[in-house]
Subunit: 254 residues, 2 copies
C-alpha cells in the first residue's frame, strides 16, 4: 500500500427520515462513475445517518429539570438544549460558558453530546436539533451488509463526526461507528527497521481515515457527506468503533 485516494461523492441529495442511504449512495457512485471494489471504505457523515434515522428533537417539547436549569445558568446555554445534552449523556466531564463536555451515552467524550444545530432545516419558533445515531456501529454494520447484499462487494463502513480535542485547537474527524474496516492496528510484538520491538502498541486507523475524509466533507455549505476511500490495505477486520473509546479507568484526562 503506497497510495490512498479519497473521493467525495457528488449528487447526494438532502437526506430525510426513512431514506434508504445505501440506495442513494449506490446511485451516486454510478453518477460519479466510480466503481466499488472489495476493501474500499465508505466514510459517511454522522449527520446523514442521524437524519435518515430521524434522530431529531424539538426544543419546545423539552422541559428542563432543575439540574438542567442550573447548568444552563452556569454555561449560558438554552436550558432545553442543556436538558437534551443531559438526556444524551452519562456524565458531565467539564463545563464553562458556551460549552458542556460530556461522556455521552455511546461513551464518547463530546462537546454538547454531539447535538447539532447546523445544516438542519429548523423553525426559529421551535428549533429542531439533531442527535447522534443511537448505535452508530450498528448503523455502519447494516449499511455494510446491505451493500454486500446488493453488490456482492465487501467494503468497510465508517461513520464519522467532528470532535473537539483536549490540548489542540480545531475540530477533527473521528470514527463513531464502523463495520468491516480496520479500526485499531495492533502493533504489539512487531519490530522496527533495526529489529527492536516497537513501544507503540496501537494506531487509531479508523480515526485517521475519518479525519482524512473530513477534509473533503467540509462543515458548511459543501454538502459532501459521503467519501469513498480506496487503497486501505487492511479493511477486513470486524472490530467496531467502540474499540476506539478508552476505558474511563485507563483515562488520565477526565
Amino acid at each position: 500500500m503506497n497510495k490512498i485516494e479519497l473521493t467525495a461523492l457528488e449528487e447526494i441529495p438532502l437526506i430525510n427520515e426513512g431514506d434508504n442511504l445505501v440506495e442513494i449512495i449506490l446511485i451516486a457512485l454510478e453518477k460519479n462513475k466510480i466503481s466499488l471494489n472489495n476493501g474500499d471504505v465508505l466514510v459517511i457523515a454522522q449527520k446523514i445517518i442521524s437524519k435518515s434515522e430521524g434522530r431529531y428533537a424539538f426544543l419546545n417539547e423539552i422541559n428542563p429539570s432543575p439540574e438542567a436549569n442550573e447548568l444552563s445558568n452556569k454555561t449560558d446555554k438554552d436550558p432545553r438544549l442543556v436538558q437534551l445534552i443531559l438526556n444524551e449523556s452519562k456524565e458531565v466531564i467539564r463545563y464553562r460558558k458556551g460549552v458542556i463536555v460530556v461522556e455521552n451515552n455511546l461513551g464518547l467524550i463530546h462537546a454538547n453530546a454531539g447535538i447539532d444545530r447546523s445544516n438542519i432545516e429548523s423553525d426559529n419558533e421551535n428549533p429542531r436539533v439533531l442527535l447522534l445515531p443511537l448505535d452508530p456501529d450498528k448503523s455502519a454494520a447494516e449499511i455494510q451488509k446491505e451493500v454486500l447484499k446488493q453488490t456482492q462487494i465487501k467494503i468497510g463502513v465508517i461513520i464519522n463526526d467532528s470532535s473537539g480535542r483536549a490540548w489542540r485547537n480545531g475540530i477533527v474527524g473521528i470514527a463513531i461507528g464502523s463495520s468491516g474496516a480496520k479500526v485499531l492496528s495492533d502493533l504489539r510484538g512487531e519490530t522496527d527497521l533495526f529489529g527492536n520491538t516497537l513501544e507503540v502498541t496501537e494506531v487509531g486507523i479508523a480515526d485517521e481515515i475519518a479525519s482524512a475524509a473530513s477534509l473533503l466533507m467540509g462543515q458548511g455549505k459543501e454538502g459532501l457527506p459521503v467519501v469513498l476511500v480506496k487503497g486501505m490495505k487492511e479493511s477486513s477486520d470486524m472490530n467496531n468503533a467502540k474499540a476506539l473509546i478508552r476505558k474511563a479507568s485507563e483515562d488520565l484526562f477526565r
Copy 2:
C-alpha cells in the same frame, strides 16, 4: 475539491545527520515518477527531520537529578530517560507506570516528550534516543523555501508525529510543524446549507492531513516517511503548526 490523493514515496533511504532532505525527496519524487505541483502538500515524518538535524541523545551521558530519580521510581522508567523527558519539557501534566505526559518545550502535550527509541540505530550498552526537532515550524519553512528555490513550485510542508490522545485508544498523526499549508480553517461567520451561521469555528486541517498521511507511513518496518498529498484546495495560508496548540488558559483538560 472532491478528490485527495496521498502517495507514500518509495526509495527514501535511511536518513543520517546532515543529510539534505530536499535533495533526497526531489530524487525520490523523480524515481517515483511523480510531478510536484503548486498547492501540493508534502507530509514528512518527524523522525527523519530529527535525524537529519542530529537530535540524538545518549542515555549514558545523562545524569538524573533527584527529581528525575523520584519520577523514575513512580513510573518504572529509566531515570536517564526521565531526566531527558524533563529537559525537553515545561511541565509534567500526568504520570503513571510506564507513561509520563508532559507539556514539552514546543507546547505539545506528549507522552514521554515525544522522545523515541524505535527505528533508531542504537547500542544496547549506551542507548541512543531521538528528540523532537528544536523548531519544527522552522524546519518546515526551510524545506518549503528550498523546494521553491530548486523547483519554482510552491508547496505546503507539514511535519507530522504520532500522538496519544485523551479519551481515545490508539495514536494518530498530528502536525507538529507546518509551512505554506492551511493549518486551521476558520469558519466564523460562514453559513450552512440553510443559511444559519455555523457554530463550529475552526477545523484542525493540518492535523487531519497529518493523520491521513500516517495511514501510509506505518510505524514499523515500512520506512515510508514522506507522503505527497494532492488535491488540497487551501494550501497557501502561511500560519504554522503552533496555531494548533490550545492555550493552557483555554484548555479544560490538563
